[in-house]
């Protein structure tokens, strides 16, 4: 077996085996130290495996196979960096947690699944990896076991399982067009244009993956689940786990076929989500909730880009969407780690932390000369100069505003003691390294995905394009901070709170159905029905030709 195949297989398998090894107490004791190394094979695979390598792990009829293309490699590499940084951070963050053993198992399983979705090539393995990353992430968000975390966990699981049901229906319809039992994703998608259920498949796919990405109104679980998890877990949940939805859309949508209606619908949902996330995020009082709503908004941007690609039938946009998503992985991961850093910093010493966090936030909005600006420039390509492109560019002003809000909340959250003004080196180091990578790495990827020279990003016209929304946002933030109205805090999960009003109604409905149980378990009823069944069967079989 060559190196490329070994690395691709090792990326998801090593963390999975480590999770299994946690069954032994001796491994469990050192598990926090394994979190960062477990993601290293994934990073090596992203760096060393040549593009478009295909590895068949198990021959037909299983056809378990791996495939690393440009979008997959970009997301894999970005995710691996965050997993390593957050893993290092978690080893210190959880040092005193008595239940860190269980946390590490969920972490390693989520890690295995998240690498899996980026690199598997066949439909069944994708569903397996997708289910693994989705369900194991529940363990991370529910770790703290507070009343809030329990509610978040139930909402998350309910929506996730609903999404899984939609996706399996879509996959079965998609796969049944091809002669193999377990087709490759690209072969199955190639059959899509001749499928009798084209629109049904697209609807199920888009809704199933949009749930994972958190497009409005399927975003309700995200502000709940991402805010209640321990800090490093929030970082990977908001940074990486939601990208399972992004890769799902990139892999399963027929991006090479121009589908203007579907593309437009996805773009509208994306733009609405982008602004909705910002608006709701601005009302939040907790820095992690602000970040979670910002993730909702950013995933709206990615959905808009993918929608634009669908309108034009432009499969090259997949790499750009992945690039934007990878930029978000690193920035959002670093921003979440900052929440833990700030909380452990003394109020007097918090300025440098706020400075770096602010820079990360502005990069997310596309501040010129940061990695985020390149991500914003890259998506201008497929979006063009139309209304969608304009609205997306303007949403960066909102992101700036939201990040300003985040920094203010971060300042207020500093609770460290003056004797230890900054948290330990072992927390600071992974955060700072990740932040630097987040700001710098897009520079190396930009030429690869857009095909343009890096110098073009520094051209005055491009600097202007990205600077205007950021300046606009900063001005707005300043104005609002001076004399803005106090916004009422919208409860996290917003529309969910309305949906939960329906809970008692549903319970009453179920109880009504439940009473049927008591009726059916009466002897007289069952006996009469049995006699009825004999007659019904006899009548039916008589009618046969």
């Amino acid at each position: 077996m060559n190196l490329a195949a070994a690395l691709l297989i090792a990326a998801p398998v090593v963390p999975f085996l480590l999770a299994l090894a946690c069954a032994f107490k001796s491994v469990r004791r050192v598990a926090p130290l394994l979190l960062a190394p477990a993601a290293v094979p994934g990073l090596l695979a992203a760096l060393l495996v040549p593009r478009d390598v295909f590895v068949l792990v198990a021959p037909a009829p299983f056809r378990i196979s791996f495939f690393l293309d440009v979008p997959g490699a970009i997301l894999l590499g970005g995710a691996a960096l965050l997993w390593i940084a957050a893993g290092t951070y978690a080893a210190t963050y959880l040092a005193k947690d008595p239940r860190r053993g269980g946390f590490c198992v969920w972490w390693l399983l989520t890690l295995a699944g998240s690498f899996g979705v980026f690199i598997v090539a066949d439909v069944a393995s994708f569903y397996l990896a997708f289910a693994l990353v989705s369900l194991a992430a529940f363990g991370l968000s529910a770790h703290d076991d507070t009343a809030e975390a329990r509610r978040a966990g139930i909402v998350y699981l309910a929506l996730t399982l609903f999404g899984e049901a939609l996706l399996i229906a879509a996959f079965v319809m998609l796969a049944s067009g091809s002669p193999q039992a377990n087709p490759l994703i690209r072969d199955a998608v190639a059959q899509w244009p001749v499928s009798p259920w084209r629109d049904a498949i697209l609807l199920l796919l888009v809704v199933g993956f949009a749930l994972k990405m958190g497009l409005v109104p399927l975003h309700v679980w995200m502000p709940l689940a991402h805010a209640v998890a321990p800090v490093p877990a929030s970082a990977v949940l908001s940074g990486i786990v939601v990208k399972a939805g992004v890769i799902g859309l990139l892999r399963f949508l027929p991006l090479g076929v121009a589908l203007p209606h579907w593309g437009l619908a996805l773009s509208i949902a994306g733009i609405f989500t982008a602004y909705y996330g910002i608006a709701l995020g601005l009302t939040q009082k907790h820095p992690k909730r602000v970040l979670a709503y910002s993730t909702v908004s950013q995933m709206g941007v990615v959905a808009t880009v993918i929608g634009g690609a669908l309108v034009q039938g432009d499969s090259a946009a997949a790499a750009i969407a992945a690039f934007y998503a990878a930029n978000h992985i690193l920035l959002k991961g670093a921003l979440f780690l900052a929440v833990g850093i700030a909380a452990a910093t003394a109020p007097g010493a918090v300025m440098p932390v706020l400075g770096l966090a602010g820079l990360l936030g502005l990069s997310l909005a596309g501040l010129p000369f940061t990695g985020g600006a390149l991500a914003k420039l890259a998506i201008k390509g497929p979006m063009g100069e139309g209304a969608a492109g304009f609205l997306l560019a303007l949403s960066a002003a909102g992101t700036t505003l939201l990040m300003a809000k985040f920094v203010v909340l971060l300042r207020d959250s500093a609770k460290g003691r003056a004797a230890f003004p900054l948290p330990s080196q072992r927390l600071m180091a992974p955060w700072i390294v990740l932040s630097v990578l987040a700001l710098a790495l897009p520079f190396t990827l930009y030429p690869l995905v857009t095909g343009e020279r890096i110098a073009s990003a520094f051209a005055l016209v491009n600097v202007e394009k990205t600077a205007v929304p950021v300046l606009l946002g900063l001005a707005l933030a300043f104005a609002l901070h001076q004399r803005g109205p106090a916004l009422p805090e919208v409860p996290a999960g917003d529309v969910l709170v309305l949906a939960e009003r329906l809970g008692p109604l549903l319970a009453r409905g179920l109880a009504g159905v439940g009473r049927l149980d008591d009726v059916l378990r009466r002897w007289g009823v069952a006996g009469a029905l049995l006699a009825g069944l004999v007659v019904a069967l006899a009548v039916a079989v008589r009618s046969a030709p």
Binding site: L161, E164, I168, V172, L530, P545
Partner: protein, 502 residues
């Protein structure tokens, strides 16, 4: 039918042994004291497993059904025993669950008194012999004997503890099973009077849609449906399966209710014509859908763990009946009908393994807590983590999430439903998975949380938890079955079973 066994197979004696050996195991139990009797029962369980393994191996090796004629007399004079791929499959599944139940019920080496009364071991062997006879008998009267033996061995398992509540449940079970037997016997008598034979293969040749045949099929099917506790005839199941000791519940839920379903398949695919089968299939599927949806909702409302699992059995049985219309169309549907067969069989075995594991895990939980009230299960995951893990893995298969046999089965049934345009079946399958998730997570989520108060656990033997875990891991391992019709199941079956129909 191309599969008439014209002569006995060289190793056909294995069929007789599969039925006789568990019965032979009863003899020493009558003579020995409790502990040696238990050991002797385990020896016979192992012997039975070896015979079934040999039988399955022989069917797979020869690619043809095994056949044996008692006393050398061929039907209609004698009684034929026959094991095709589907029968061998059922024999195998049953053997695995039986041996696991035996290991689970075994007394710990150092314990001073036996865990289970002697009667348990006798009934266990009796149930096994009866089940094996159901799977291999080709004669409707031999099948009647097998069904009666099954009922009379299974019913006392329900009330082993002798409490008034479980005795009432056992009586209810007995009465309803007898209803089923009466309907079956009426049908068999009609057939004998009309065709002069009770051999299934001969009946298939002689019967051509005469009113007597149709009436008999309707009566016998209704009888089997009552015994299988298909919706809406599940009234006896929850109390009976929840009242029995864990090892017995595992057998009852995992394999005993499957035997009548096996016979329904035999009636409609070995005796009736495809057109007749296609005509009744929607009725059976409608009842199946009712089971999946309504019994799933009922399971959500249970307050006790064992009742919840029992209602889940009533719901899961429904999937097997959803298979009928999908497979019935197979004459025209080719490979999509065959995949429904494989999906149904796979659902049957994964449900058997996962449900047995869940009942055993529930038994351990009830033992360590002294109760099985779902509202008070918080933190149980910290006390018996292996059992909760086994329960979770079993639940994974019920929910139809990968990797598990339940997932592959669901994909196969969905594929078949989608290909044949049976959208309502596809929706029921998906809805059933969500309901299963609801009732499994109702137990699993509190189990993973912090304990509410101080739990004072009673210690339980680790290896009993391991038996449950092994079964659950088996259900997970079935998730690696390839997504295509299984050739083994099609051995000796009509051509539609392997999808080779043009």
């Amino acid at each position: 039918m191309t599969v008439l066994a014209a002569h006995a197979s060289p190793l056909g004696l294995l069929l007789v042994l599969a039925v006789i050996v568990p019965l032979l195991g009863l003899a020493p139990l009558l003579l020995l004291k409790a502990r040696p009797a238990e050991r002797s029962a385990l020896v016979f369980l192992a012997a039975g497993l070896a015979i079934v393994c040999a039988l399955c191996f022989e069917v797979a090796r020869s690619g043809a059904p095994l056949a044996y004629f008692l006393g050398g007399f061929k039907p209609p004079l004698g009684v034929g025993l026959r094991a095709d791929g589907f029968s061998a499959f059922m024999l195998g599944v049953t053997a695995v669950v039986m041996v696991a139940a035996g290991l689970f019920a075994m007394t710990a080496p150092g314990a001073d008194k036996p865990r289970m009364p002697l009667a348990f071991w006798m009934l266990l062997l009796g149930v096994w012999s009866a089940l094996n006879l159901v799977y291999v008998a080709d004669d409707l009267f031999a099948l009647y004997v097998a069904l009666e033996l099954l009922t009379f061995a299974a019913v006392p398992l329900v009330c082993l503890d002798g409490r008034a509540q479980t005795i009432a449940a056992a009586l209810q079970y007995l009465l309803f099973a007898l209803f089923g037997s009466v309907l079956y016997l009426l049908g068999a008598a009609l057939l004998y009077g009309t065709y002069g034979t009770l051999d299934i293969l001969l009946l298939a040749q002689r019967a051509h849609g005469e009113p007597a045949l149709l009436a008999a099929l309707a009566l016998m099917t209704a009888g089997m449906v009552a015994k299988a506790a298909l919706f809406p005839f599940y009234l006896w199941l929850p109390a009976a399966h929840a009242g029995a000791p864990a090892a017995a519940s595992a057998i009852l839920s995992a394999v005993v209710v499957k035997a009548p379903i096996f016979l329904v398949v035999r009636f409609w695919y070995d005796i009736a014509s495809p057109a007749q089968t296609a005509a009744v299939a929607p009725i059976l599927a409608a009842l199946g859908a009712g089971a999946v949806v309504l019994c799933g909702v009922f399971a959500l409302r249970q307050a006790r763990l064992k009742l919840l699992i029992a209602y889940s059995t009533a719901a899961q049985i429904g999937y097997l009946f959803l298979m009928f219309p999908l497979a019935a169309a197979s004459a025209g549907a080719g490979v999509w009908g065959a995949i429904a067969w494989t999906g149904g069989a796979l659902h049957l075995v994964s449900h058997a393994l996962s449900k047995a594991a869940m009942f055993m895990a529930a038994g351990v939980i009830a033992e360590t807590l002294g109760h099985d009230r779902i509202a008070q299960l918080s933190g149980i995951g910290r006390i018996v983590p292996i059992s909760v893990f086994a329960f979770g893995l079993g639940g994974l298969s019920l929910m139809g999430l990968p990797p598990s046999g339940g997932f592959v089965a669901k994909v196969m049934l969905l594929t078949s439903a989608v290909q044949q345009g049976s959208w309502w079946i596809a929706v029921v399958i998906l809805l059933g998975g969500l309901l299963a998730a609801g009732y499994v997570l109702r137990v699993l989520l509190p189990a993973l949380q912090r304990p509410d108060g101080n739990l004072v656990p009673v210690p339980v033997a680790r290896w009993r938890e391991m038996v449950a875990l092994a079964l659950a891991l088996g259900a997970v391992a079935l998730g690696f079955v390839p997504l295509q019709p299984a050739a083994f199941l099609a051995i000796g079956r009509p051509a539609s079973w392997d999808g080779a129909v043009p």
